[in-house]
Symmetry: C2
Subunit: 428 residues, 2 copies
């Protein structure tokens, strides 16, 4: 295993090929559809298509929906999908069976979890009026918190540097709301330490696992976290806009009534009572009818990550992820020297998620467009970030080599300055 | 066209076959996968699978996701899907282009629309504290209203009889919240009259179109409605748990900030600003990343309804729907006489949606199970309702005849009393 402190000597393409040959996880890549001529370094935005997905979704459409119609709610287990897929995700994030459900979008789940967390926090300490987060948190998290803060007369406090979080934790804080791995920088928080720091001042901790679930080991129960949400379409490979997930620690889950009190979260949905009675446990976080096609696709995606379980699971995936990101950073440093690129992701393994971000003062957008035109797909984040995600299930060491060679060519040749790469368009 | 007041004389199976032969909409049924041996009278719970859907979703998975990956957010128009499909639905419910979006579930959209409506109502008249609805409204609507009422210190008032709505409309009412066609009885409200009655006392009107969109003509703008939500998986044939839709009248749409303020509803989502600024118009009702597989399926479903446009559109579908429900009620009255069935759906066309409900004092569940075992699929609603939906796109007159003959057999033979039909299970 390499780090920036101990770089590999004499790395070559052959060396990378040899690393792939020695990689016990290498065959997991065969679970995915692999487009010709593409080096995909954007699995942190949209995971690749698992080979199993198209056939499974086809079966859901043609057999379960087309032939069996409404009967599939019972006979095909549709009603149970939010729990069944939730239990699988729970195994990846250190939650117990029956504690986590799949539903809605990350944003909507954050609204539920944040509402519930604030209700719990304010029930325990009515004078606490602060939601503490980071200005660099993913915008949806801040917007939802801003909305709830406004609705409930609370204050959203955003710090600029991660190290300022602890100094802002005081008796006014009801909730610490953080994204575990930062979407722009790839910086990872220490979930155990920050959760404990929040608890030490009597606050709760809510974690957004959008860039963690399936990417790095997460231990919600081990860290004693209070609430969590996460995304289905990044490292869980659930497909564009896949449903998201939500978890509440069992000590909190029955203490509140989350405001998106839809019929699927009712204690007895088929009694059609005019009054709401929340279902026991995490089921009360369900709201409307579950989206079955999307849930079926998500289950296939989660299965691709669970396929690593007998090979060391998330720890093994993490080891490969760090090796990939180390290698990328080292090769960029060696082979793109003097090209105005700055590495902004943390060098320390403990602080790094499964992505590497570079900045370029004037050309980040155009450089990424030139790379994409060559089939090397990462993404651009305004104003100056080139973001590269390294999904350990699908990215090979030789892909890292080849991606850096393309980057080097784009920079050395000045190709990125061609007018065709200058035009901005919306990219997620 | 027949009604209960003027029954057809001497109806026979041949007569029904002849009606199908004369039906100019008959071929629209060929748009759907039609399982062998099934008479499907539950399109009001889950619409049938359009033939186009499986191929389209396969294309989205294999080409747009599998091959083109993240690039499809721009290149395949994924970002625009909530608007593109929304514009198609708008044509079916009397809304303008750009006024309606597809997103989330009906329950979640109701939360947004109800929040927004209450904000508008209370901004105009801060002393109004009542949400007026019906006890028989679909439970999710009542639960979401109950939740928001609790959060905002309002009161949810539920009347027991539709005729009591007008007498409860007074200066305390902020919002009249109704489902246009009742899910249990099939009774339809007069949207124009009730919206006007609400406006006359200074209240707003919010309509749930779950059992209306694609089933009966709806004219939101013509009725001067204020807000609306609706379902994608019933008469719009979008598939199990398909995304829902939400509409706000242009006079209200920019007056508020709905609380599910996710990044896709931001004015500039790709600037990743830490502060929320709602997008212009109905876009601010979007929240999280749109679910693309489900949206693609929904678009195919909506297209099956739009295929009737050149044949008279919703008016022609409505005419057929009334003929089907008239025929069903007449045949049940004639051929199941003395079998303790009571028709609970309204006899007047103006008051009837696209379904017919019967009650049976002791056997509703078992009778429906016996019918389902014969391939006649309707649904049961506790405690005593047999619910039959008549999707005019897919149901033939001969299906009505055959369904009633099965019902007659089940009742006359006493088959429904067999123990195998007594066991209750969850059915949506």
């Amino acid at each position: 295993m390499t780090s920036f402190a101990e770089p590999l000597r004499e790395v070559s393409r052959d060396h990378c090929v040899a690393m792939d040959g020695a990689d016990k996880l290498a065959h997991l890549r065969e679970q995915f559809v692999l487009p010709q001529g593409v080096i995909y370094l954007d699995g942190n935005s949209l995971g690749m298509l698992p080979r199993a997905t198209a056939a499974r979704v086809q079966e859901v459409m043609e057999k379960e929906w087309g032939q069996d119609l409404i009967r599939s709610w019972n006979n095909a287990g549709w009603m149970d999908l939010p729990h069944r897929v939730g239990d699988k995700i729970a195994r990846l994030v250190g939650a117990g069976a029956g504690e986590l459900v799949v539903a809605d979008s990350t944003s909507v789940n954050l609204f539920k979890a944040l509402s519930a967390a604030l209700s719990v926090a304010q029930q325990d300490s009515p004078t606490r009026r602060v939601i503490l987060s980071e200005r660099s948190n993913f915008p949806t998290d801040l917007y939802i918190a801003e909305s709830l803060a406004r609705e409930r007369g609370l204050r959203l406090v955003m710090v600029d540097r991660p190290e300022d979080l602890v100094t802002h934790l005081d008796a006014d804080v009801a909730l610490l709301m953080l994204t575990h791995v930062n979407y722009r920088t790839g910086r990872m928080h220490d979930m155990a330490v920050l959760t404990r720091a929040a608890h030490d001042v009597g606050a709760l901790a809510l974690w957004d696992l959008a860039h963690s679930a399936g990417a790095v080991p997460v231990d919600l129960k081990g860290c004693d976290a209070d609430f969590a949400v996460g995304c289905g379409y990044k490292y869980l490979n659930g497909g564009p806009g896949a449903p998201a997930f939500v978890w509440a620690h069992p000590r909190h889950v029955e203490r509140f009534w989350q405001p998106l009190s839809g019929w699927i979260g009712h204690a007895a949905p088929f009694e059609f009572s005019p009054h709401y009675a929340p279902a026991p446990g995490i089921t009360r976080f369900l709201c409307g009818t579950p989206p079955i096609l999307s849930m079926a696709a998500l289950e296939c995606g989660v299965d691709t990550v669970l396929a690593a379980q007998h090979l060391g699971g998330m720890d093994a995936l993490r080891e490969k992820s760090l090796a990939l990101t180390d290698l990328f950073a080292q090769l960029v440093a060696e082979r793109c020297e003097g090209q105005s690129l700055t590495l902004t992701s943390p060098t320390a393994h403990l602080l790094r998620g499964s992505q590497v971000c570079l900045t370029h003062p004037s050309g980040a957008y155009a450089i990424m467009q030139a790379l994409i035109a060559r089939g090397v797909i990462g993404d651009f984040r305004a104003p100056d970030v080139l973001r590269f995600g390294f999904t350990p299930l699908t990215v090979r060491f030789v892909d890292v080599w080849d991606a850096v060679e393309h980057l080097r060519d784009v920079l050395h040749s000045g190709q990125w300055q061609e007018p065709r790469f200058a035009q901005r368009a919306a990219v997620t």
